[in-house]
């Protein structure tokens, strides 16, 4: 006989089962609380990763006290991403497992019990699917179902594993059909459904739990393999045609993506998610092996029938309930509307830094669909005038991206003020714009992209929807922009012309991240003179007299060496840059340039570009320019680059005036 005490001791002695159970507890904890335990925001990207004492590196950053597992190539904390990715990864695995279970167990029961044509049809379908390697078939299916997002991906992962499950269940049911208690129930006139549910499934339960546990491991393995070749659920860093595509919610499979495109020295970045995935797969497989030993009649670790049935039923119920709950949560939260997105964006902005205020919301719509947004973007500005964009690709809550200093829609936030109250929904504003020429424009240009901006510029007394239709045509790019009052679509827009509070040149920060690690090789300031006003906000079709864009007298660029991939990454909070008033001669720069410190605890390595420029001027630049002027070349352009060469800061400037060009170099003292 098997007593409870002896069963308990057998469970304790069953090492794989014990490891599996403890591991499963940890996994459940990760899935439930992973995101809350993350020490950093898993979405925040860093152009430069700074450490205490002013040390810094370009991502990927190796493990350190600040980032225990290092950062990925976008500077996002890997530890936080692993924790935050647990929920989506495990939910996806559970959903795929649920679909596999329904198909495999359902068809297995049906084929085994009914036999005949049903059996042959189910077995043939299973044989065809099992005839191709799972990974290969899942890869094709994932590509085919890619447009259907998370649902398509879950179907691709689920569609390939069920034949094994079905064949195992079918085999067992064929065997159990001849069991005396089953024959007795049939003989007594019980319905097939009753016999299967009451006399077959309970006997199958222990084996089902083992099979499902192993299947869960197989699903995760498939996620890892697909992720490694760049197929994943929620975006990430993948390379499409050589161009990096980056974003979105962390997911373990996705974190393996693009590994092949990394430099050899950076391959360890994918080791973190790979080890986590393999650890979870191993836990599941060990748990399955332990359960198999506990249910095997010849095993010394076998448990008594009562304990085994209790255990298997509890586990089966947990798997099914967890999968159903996960599916409900995952699929329910796929699509969000503008208001839900705003709520989530506010929460994301608060996590980056309290005090951010909404300055604009943008709904992007594809040509084919004016109902479902292709993307939702929310723009926030901090009290220190830092811009933050929180976006949701496909209006998908799982595809969030948080990027400081990133203006994807050309909103020119410095001309905007925090949004006041609005009462009109974007759909109503769009509908109104359609009647004011929008639909005609779209008929003329079928490939029209539509954007709905919600914003409030300086001088406006209320928020305004600006609906922009844009299309490429043989005559060039065509735009139509229609402003709509966000309080009442039929009311006129009220505004008064006031000067913008500060005319500030836009500082552009560009970086080339896949370069020599840990060395800022250049900070470039380009001095150009571009007088005149540009009406970037309204375009040529805008109301007369509404001019908000300042001229662009200076452009400051931070470069990180000679990049292979030129990717703009306007994001790092600690990347100091210079605000340059407009319309001023470069020589006046010293009094007006400033850098923006972000974290008081971090010593920002700054270079005063203006001082550097002046010193170069004094070192011969000015004299040379005067000579050129005497020769008839009075207009000039100077590109200055601050280089880090062997731990020394070097300023290098290239003057150009017409056909003349000359370079000067000067060693600087770093500050």
């Amino acid at each position: 006989m098997y007593g409870r005490v002896s069963d308990l001791s057998r469970i304790v002695a069953n090492v794989p089962l014990m490891i599996g159970m403890l591991g499963l507890l940890l996994i459940v904890l990760l899935a439930l609380a992973g995101e809350r335990l993350a020490p950093h925001d898993p979405f925040v990207q860093r152009l430069v990763v700074f450490y205490e004492g002013g040390r810094f590196t370009t991502p990927p950053a190796p493990p350190s006290e600040r980032f225990p597992l290092g950062t990925d190539i976008l500077g996002r904390d890997l530890f936080s991403r692993v924790l935050a990715g647990a929920r989506l990864t495990l939910t996806l695995a559970l959903v795929a497992l649920l679909i596999r279970t329904v198909l495999g167990v359902g068809l297995g029961l049906l084929a085994g019990w009914r036999g005949g044509l049903t059996d042959r049809a189910a077995t043939a379908a299973a044989s065809v699917l099992a005839g191709v390697p799972q990974f290969a078939l899942a890869l094709i299916l994932a590509l085919a179902l890619a447009p259907y997002g998370v649902v398509g991906f879950a179907i691709a992962v689920a569609a390939v594993g069920w034949p094994e499950l079905m064949q195992s269940v079918r085999r067992e049911v064929l065997h159990l059909r001849r069991a005396p208690w089953v024959e007795a129930a049939v003989g007594l006139g019980a319905q097939s459904g009753h016999v299967v549910s009451q006399h077959v499934v309970p006997v199958l339960a222990p084996q089902l739990v083992v099979l499902l546990t192993l299947q869960a491991g197989a699903v995760l393995l498939l996620l890892a393999e697909l992720g490694f070749v760049g197929m994943f659920i929620a975006g990430g860093v993948a390379y499409y045609g050589g161009e990096p595509v980056r974003d979105h919610t962390p997911e373990w499979g996705q974190m393996l993506a693009g590994a092949r495109a990394y430099r050899l020295e950076d391959q360890w970045v994918v080791a973190v998610p790979a080890l986590v995935l393999v650890g979870v797969i191993a836990v599941l497989n060990l748990f399955g092996q332990g359960l198999r030993a506990a249910s095997s009649p010849h095993s010394p670790l076998r448990l008594g029938p009562t304990t085994m049935h209790l255990l298997s039923r509890a586990l089966l119920a947990s798997i099914l309930i967890g999968a159903a709950a996960g599916a409900f949560v995952a699929f329910r939260s796929i699509e969000i509307d503008f208001a839900e997105g705003l709520e989530r964006a506010h929460a994301a902005a608060e996590k980056v830094e309290p005090g951010y205020r909404l300055v604009a919301g943008v709904v992007r719509l594809d040509a084919a669909d004016l109902v479902r947004p292709a993307k939702l973007n929310y723009y926030f500005r901090s009290p220190n005038r830092r811009l933050l964009r929180v976006g949701f690709a496909g209006a998908d809550a799982n595809a969030a991206e948080t990027r400081p200093f990133h203006d994807e829609d050309g909103i020119h936030d410095l001309q905007l003020m925090p949004l006041g109250e609005w009462s009109v929904e974007w759909e109503a504003a769009l509908a109104h714009a359609e009647t004011l020429g929008g639909s005609e424009f779209r008929e003329g240009y079928p490939a029209t992209l539509t954007r709905v901006w919600l914003m409030q510029a300086h001088g406006w007394s209320h928020p305004v929807y600006l609906i922009e239709y844009s299309a490429a045509s043989v005559e060039g790019r065509r735009f139509l922009r229609i402003p709509v009052n966000a309080l009442d679509v039929t009311a006129p827009i009220e505004f008064s012309l006031v000067p913008t509070e500060t005319l500030i040149g836009r500082a552009r920060i560009a970086a080339f991240p896949r370069l020599e690690r840990g060395v800022i090789t250049a900070i470039r300031a380009r001095y150009v003179s571009e007088p005149g006003l540009r009406n970037e906000l309204w375009g040529e079709d805008g109301p007369a007299g509404v001019l908000f864009s300042p001229p662009t007298p200076a452009e400051v660029t931070m470069r990180f060496g000679d990049g292979v991939q030129s990717v703009d990454v306007h994001f790092d909070l600690r990347a100091g840059f210079f605000l340059v008033p407009s319309g001023l001669d470069p020589l006046v720069l010293p009094e007006l340039s400033e850098s923006i410190p972000v974290e008081p605890s971090v010593q920002l390595p700054t270079v005063d570009l203006a001082q550097a420029f002046l010193r170069l001027e004094e070192a011969g630049g000015r004299e040379m320019r005067e000579q050129w002027k005497a020769q008839g070349h009075g207009e000039w352009v100077a590109d200055m680059v601050i280089l880090v060469e062997e731990a020394r800061l070097v300023a290098q400037i290239t003057y150009a005036a017409g056909p003349l060009e000359r370079q000067l170099r000067l060693e600087l003292d770093s500050d």
Partner: protein
């Protein structure tokens, strides 16, 4: 009863016993009808796989821009199969993959069987625990893990020392295939060990073993003469499953190590939008698996007379 005679079975022969007792003890021949059906079934399944997979790949590649697939830029152009006809490309893929598959299968069978025999024959509990634990870990971790682990280890060594210990990856380097073979071997070896050990343990409790033991047979002879032949069918089934696991893991393992076999060819064909090549490689996997299943069915009948009834 008339004795002897060329046409008469001798006394005690299965035929005589059959006639006298009514129990058929003759070793039946191969069940050709059954095998014929199995062959037909395999061919029909293959045809269905070919139709389904080709249709799926054709539809998929018609709806996606192959040049923008996530792995397109990683796998690059098509040098190993460049300027080859489809048949030649498949032949090259098969020959390159065979370099991995055949040794992996043989080594996994050898390791699995030898360790199972050692497990049953040894009296050392430590050795048994060690073997069982290693097999449990081996069976729990997929080839992808081993491949990735070895890949990272090699990279670590290479970036620290500048030496490529085993230049087995790099598509343009015909390096040696040790790492992918190891990655493909470990899990099937563990699975064969666990399957054969389970049968051997079960057979050990059989009445005929107890009888043989009571008659003084040594443990080694018991295992060799009685237990092992009884586990042959299970070992065969495990080998078939092992081959299935190896072929299934082939695309990802070849992708990790950039081994220009059929698995890499399949991913490569998808990446460049070559429907014919992608379908050909996918069907090739199905052919190998179907052949393996059929060969397994024939050998199972050959090894185990019980299967012929």
């Amino acid at each position: 009863m008339q004795q002897g005679g060329a046409s008469e079975p001798c006394a005690g022969s299965p035929t005589t016993v059959t006639r006298e007792v009514g129990v058929d003890l003759r070793r039946p021949g191969l069940h050709w009808r059954h095998l014929g059906f199995a062959l037909l079934e395999s061919v029909a399944t293959l045809a269905a796989v070919a139709v389904v997979v080709t249709a799926l790949i054709t539809w998929t590649l018609a709806h996606v821009d192959a040049g923008r697939l996530p792995f397109a830029s990683v796998v690059g152009p098509w040098p190993p199969f460049e300027d080859l006809s489809l048949l030649e490309a498949v032949a090259v893929g098969v020959s390159r993959s065979a370099i991995l598959v055949v040794p992996a299968l043989i080594v996994s069978l050898a390791i699995g069987l030898l360790s199972a025999i050692t497990y049953v024959a040894t009296s050392s509990p430590w050795l048994r625990t060690l073997l069982w634990s290693l097999a449990s870990i081996g069976a729990s971790l997929p080839p992808f893990f081993w491949a990735f682990l070895m890949y990272l280890t090699l990279l670590f060594v290479a970036t620290r020392t500048g030496v490529w210990v085993l230049p087995s990856f790099g598509l343009y380097i015909q390096g040696h295939p040790l790492l992918p073979i190891i990655a493909l071997t470990l899990r099937p070896a563990a699975a064969i060990f666990l399957a054969v050990t389970a049968v051997l343990e079960e057979v050990q409790h059989g009445e005929f073993i107890r009888a043989a033991r009571a008659r003084g047979l040594s443990e080694q002879r018991l295992v060799a003469v009685h237990a092992l032949p009884n586990s042959a069918a299970t070992a065969l089934s495990a080998v078939n499953s092992g081959l299935f696991a190896i072929v299934s893991a082939l695309p990802i393992i070849e992708y990790i190590f950039w081994w220009d076999g059929a698995g890499f060819g399949f991913i490569h064909a998808l990446a460049i939008g070559d429907v014919d090549a992608a379908a050909a490689f996918a069907v090739l996997f199905a052919v190998v698996l179907a052949l393996s299943n059929f060969a397994s069915a024939v050998m199972a009948q050959y090894i185990d007379p019980r299967m012929r009834r």
